[in-house]
Symmetry: C2
Subunit: 676 residues, 2 copies
């Protein structure tokens, strides 16, 4: 048994082993396509982009240490402790460090991706400890916070990020918590005035954290200087809650129950003045307030909440880890799950059915394309954020837009991918051990944590329009500009220029994606124009238009920007890939583009950017591409570089073995059999 | 506190109470629209359609008995026991009985709907006990099974439905379990020959059941008579597993963990010959096999699995219960969750935002429309299935198509509704206590239990095409028929006939929905034509076309049938509704129709059934209808007739109170405060 299992595990990595030692499932996977057109290892290297050693070492560690084998029926307290202890092991192995932000931020994201595949709760605790809490102390703290900083990598100091309040999760700038300077004692008094001002959803808060960055309206005398971060010790070294601090455990959530979320409030808790994170702003002894940040309180808020930006890339990385795992599990199962073939006997893998291929392969393509885009955005963020390394001519505004867009797109994608994968794996997909349930629950966190996706899309649109306005002649005739754009690219002209404007003509699709972005933003910009000169009336009119009338257009425009951004990045990156993987990557890219056209076909048809004939023929291109990609799908899943042990799910492995004994829904015995 | 809560609870039912006693949340809900255009009670009566007394009594019972207050952080064993004991209470109150199938089947469905709102696991145990197990014993059993039947309502006999096997969930007719008649002892020998032949996902199996209807290939001598149901006792009266029976607990699932699912196998277990459910087929002493069912083994299988048909209506009813609860929770929260208004202060309910309205209101409309259709299908099923009550001229084929369609449509809908409601409620939606998590997990069961939705859609298409073929001249020119249909209804003509073919013109939309159904089925039928006369080659060719080439068209055609069916039913039923609720129902119906057009806009545009201008203008109609419906949305949620206690979710109630103490994520204390 053990030998069979070991061989099977090896088989995932496509070593040439004799088929006769393999389980039925392994044989069926092998039979799906014994000779894929590319080497999955080359693909893994391409997808990983950077941090190859970290990826390899971390994957190996996560695949060999049995501490990472999932456990399902365990008490809440144990589940939380497990998440912490797993994180500790990753820390001990130095797979993650707050100092990566200074040296190589992309390594932070790589660690998040791998962590999320094996334990989403652990990954979330990681992101709060190292990005939100750690990153904030690193970037906004100074020498006087070194002791806190030094305890982060070892988890000696476990931290929380106290931004959201019960009543102000969607409008943090209005938060009610105050930090009032008391010149008598040279301290800040941190206070929660109302029920709605409780710090809410605080990860690591219910059990594990001893420190918290509390964001609060900073008062010196009667002056509110806006939101600043102040370090508050919430537990002493024995783990007892500090006086004046109230911590309530938030209990069971729809998923990620290994995270100990809390609501936390402060009853005039006093902390030394030095606890203010003072890199940008300072309250001096006696109460004088100084700041390096120009602008109003809102500008200061954006600066202190800056870690949300990298946080969004962290979440995108976690989303992608989960999407990859889901796709690999569903595809591997689909190649081994037999149903009625032409004879009516159960001898035909469901992956051979068009129903299964049309559900899974477009999601596989998106998973690839989003991953390529995400890796590039990670690299651009890293080059932007590490001083002296900014070789790209990209503005802060562009980085913000890209981070918001990729977080939203990958967040929605993992929800769709996990949902469809679950559905297409039927009852087996419903078992917790097969991982889709945890992935779906985790995806909901991806969609609204660190900024509600739709609100982030609004932010993208707002930044885009502000940028447009800055570059545009005031009073420009925007309707005319839209008409000009439309006229320039009627399908007839495109057909003469390109290959009949078909779904296989990438230059043509590129054209119309570009036009869609421009037209939609010009239209939104035009609608947002306000004629009144009265400031209050203009503000009210803009609110009315933006929030009550044009929101669908705002969302569509931001989506058009995102689709185009992702397409642009992939076009370039695929062209630079190893030639052996370019053909399959181009097919995935083409399929992605066709799905974008299909999902927005109403826009392209009603704006005359595609002909009715062209739209009808998309289906043939779609069908044909999927037929070309399907035989490569298991190799593409292998290209994600995720080991069988990391996937864990029995349906991705020898599920007949898993069901041959009393498994009680757990994985331990299976892993013993597989690894012994 | 108690008084405030009581008043608030009353307020849900819109009694005129003074606002000054209400919580902030109750005030905000009241302020949303103090004078809706209709009485929600009239709406409830319309939606419930039948069984008004059962609905009223069951809702009252579920709202007053604290045993139904959800518990979240409890051990698995306790969760399962709770589901059973809750079901027992419903049985004791006679809200459900297997004999309803003989007297009033719609009462079964009403009980399912209400049960699913408070506890999906309990509802699932109910559906297996009363529909799958109970209904099968009732309909396929005879006098000799009376003792088993008599113990069903009281839960003295708890049963399982042993159809699916690990390897044959998707092709049950190929199952491997055998029941072989032994003339020596006049017994059946029930046997599980392989790992893949284990009975899988067996609800009630892991802990509670003592009886099981085992479906098996029935052998007399060497002859396989096809699949039949045999009663097997799996536990004795002390709850010990019977000799030869092996029961494995399937452990933790992505949801519905109150269900005790098992995989079960039999090692040549002997049961008396009389345990065969023999209403339709009999094995006589000595081994002679007789049957009333004409046709082959497949025909017999369909007869013995007939309870799956009502099972699909049960699942649809559960899905609708959950959809209604999710919509009510999300809408009530959205009216009380404040965010930045025109001033930037947090004083504006998110339900006032177009983003929120456009996400929620179309789902609310679908929830209404699907419910109206489901109730009519329930009534038609009831009239068809109870002998002597078939007053509709509807065939068994039509009933099958309607049941499959409504199960699939409502199953997908509850997944979408729960997912979007969760997303639009942000972090609060992530708490288990706010119910979307359990609803999402439950929806996955709705999508693939009792038939994978996509496979049911195939079944719909297959039945439709068989019916078409039976009524059609062989060799009819199908392409020409499609062209004729298209030509007859170009947008130009429709525009002259109707009101400019706009989204508000219901007759026009009705026309094109009708055309879509006809065109798509004619196209599929044409593609499915096979020229070869060789039987095996024809079979292979049809498999290739159906499964590898035309599956998208098959799914689209079945969807077109479903959309049209639902539209037809609603058109008629709304016309018969109380005049006071017709205006709002017509708006919901119109919005539903527009979303159907939007979701299939590529078809309507490329088939020239809507003009580009018409398609562009749909957005204005969509926006306008939502603006008209939004003020009524809380009253519409109230029209579902679900009490605050049944909704349970704190965000649907006084969530500031819920967060004012250490709730640990649980509901008990809140209910004590609210009900004392």
């Amino acid at each position: 048994m053990a030998l069979v299992q070991r061989l099977q595990s090896v088989c995932l990595h496509r070593s040439a082993v004799s088929l006769r030692f393999l389980s039925e499932q392994a044989k069926l996977r092998e039979a799906w396509n014994p000779t894929p057109s590319f080497d999955p290892k080359v693909m893994t290297e391409f997808l990983d982009d950077q941090n190859h050693e970290l990826h390899a070492n971390m994957r190996e560690f996560l695949s060999t240490d049995k501490f990472f084998v999932p456990q399902y029926d365990i008490p809440l307290a144990e589940e939380r402790e497990l998440a912490l202890q797993r994180l500790k092991q990753l820390c001990d192995k130095k797979f993650i460090s707050v100092h990566f932000f200074s040296t190589n931020p992309t390594a932070v994201f790589a660690a998040h991706e791998n962590a999320s595949i094996v334990d989403g709760a652990m990954a979330t605790k990681m992101t709060v400890q190292f990005n939100l809490f750690g990153g904030t102390v690193l970037k906004l703290g100074t020498a006087r916070h070194k002791e806190v900083l030094d305890g982060i990598d070892s988890l000696t100091n476990i931290g929380c990020f106290g931004l959201s309040e019960l009543g102000y999760g969607n409008n943090a700038v209005e938060m009610e918590t105050t930090a009032t300077y008391d010149p008598e004692t040279d301290e800040f008094v941190v206070n929660t005035p109302t029920v709605k001002a409780q710090k809410y959803w605080i990860t690591n808060g219910a059990i594990h954290a001893n420190h918290m960055v509390v964001f609060a309206q900073l008062y010196t005398g009667e002056v509110n200087n806006g939101i600043h971060g102040v370090l508050v010790k919430i537990r002493d070294d024995e783990g007892n809650t500090m006086p004046g601090v109230t911590i309530h455990d938030m209990g069971i959530k729809m998923g990620l129950n290994g995270i100990d979320n809390a609501k936390i409030s402060f009853d005039n808790v006093r902390v030394p003045r030095e606890n203010l994170l003072n890199k940008e702003s300072e309250v001096h002894e006696g109460g004088e307030y100084t700041t390096k940040i120009s602008g109003n309180n809102r500008a200061r808020f954006l600066k202190v909440a800056d870690q949300l930006l990298s946080g969004r890339i962290c979440i995108a990385s976690m989303s992608q880890g989960a999407s990859k795992a889901c796709m690999a599990i569903a595809l591997r199962y689909s190649a081994t799950r037999l149903t009625a073939g032409p004879s009516g006997k159960s001898d035909f893998p469901i992956l051979g059915y068009q129903l299964q291929q049309h559900a899974l392969i477009p999601l596989l393509a998106k998973t690839y394309i989003y991953d390529i885009a995400l890796k590039q955005i990670q690299a651009m963020y890293a080059k932007f954020s590490v001083p002296g390394r900014d070789i790209y001519t990209v503005s802060h505004r562009e980085i913000v837009m890209m981070c918001c867009a990729i977080k939203a797109i990958t967040g929605w994608h993992v929800n769709t991918a996990a949902t469809i994968c679950r559905e297409r794996c039927g009852g087996q997909g419903y078992l917790a051990a097969n991982r889709f349930g945890p992935a779906i629950a985790g995806s909901h966190s991806s969609m609204t944590a660190e900024g509600d996706n739709s609100v982030l899309m609004m932010k993208v649109a707002m930044e885009y329009i502000a940028d447009m306005a800055a570059k545009m002649k005031p009073g420009k005739n925007l309707s005319a500009a839209v008409e000009m754009l439309r006229a320039k690219y009627t399908p007839g002209i495109v057909q003469r220029k390109g290959k009949n404007g078909s779904g296989r003509d990438i230059a043509y699709i590129h054209h119309i994606l570009n036009l869609r972005e421009k037209i939609l933003f010009l239209q939104v910009a035009e609608k947002m124009r306000v004629s009144t000169k009265d400031k209050a009336a203009a503000r009210a009119a803009r609110f009315e238009k933006w929030s009550q009338q044009e929101q669908d257009s705002v969302q569509a425009a931001a989506r058009a920007y995102s689709d185009k951004l992702i397409s642009d990045i992939c076009y370039e990156k695929i062209g630079l890939a190893d030639p052996s993987i370019q053909p399959i990557l181009k097919k995935l890219y083409n399929l992605y583009l066709i799905t974008v056209l299909q999902e927005n076909i109403s826009f392209f048809l009603t704006n005359n950017l595609i002909s009715r004939k062209g739209a009808s023929s998309l289906r043939d291109d779609f069908d044909a591409l999927i037929k070309e990609i399907a035989p490569e799908s298991l190799a593409l899943a292998e290209g994600f570089g995720i080991t069988e042990e990391m996937l864990s799910a029995p349906i991705a492995r020898d599920w007949e073995l898993y069901n041959s004994y009393d498994n009680a829904g757990e994985m331990k015995k299976f892993e013993d059999l597989a690894r012994s």
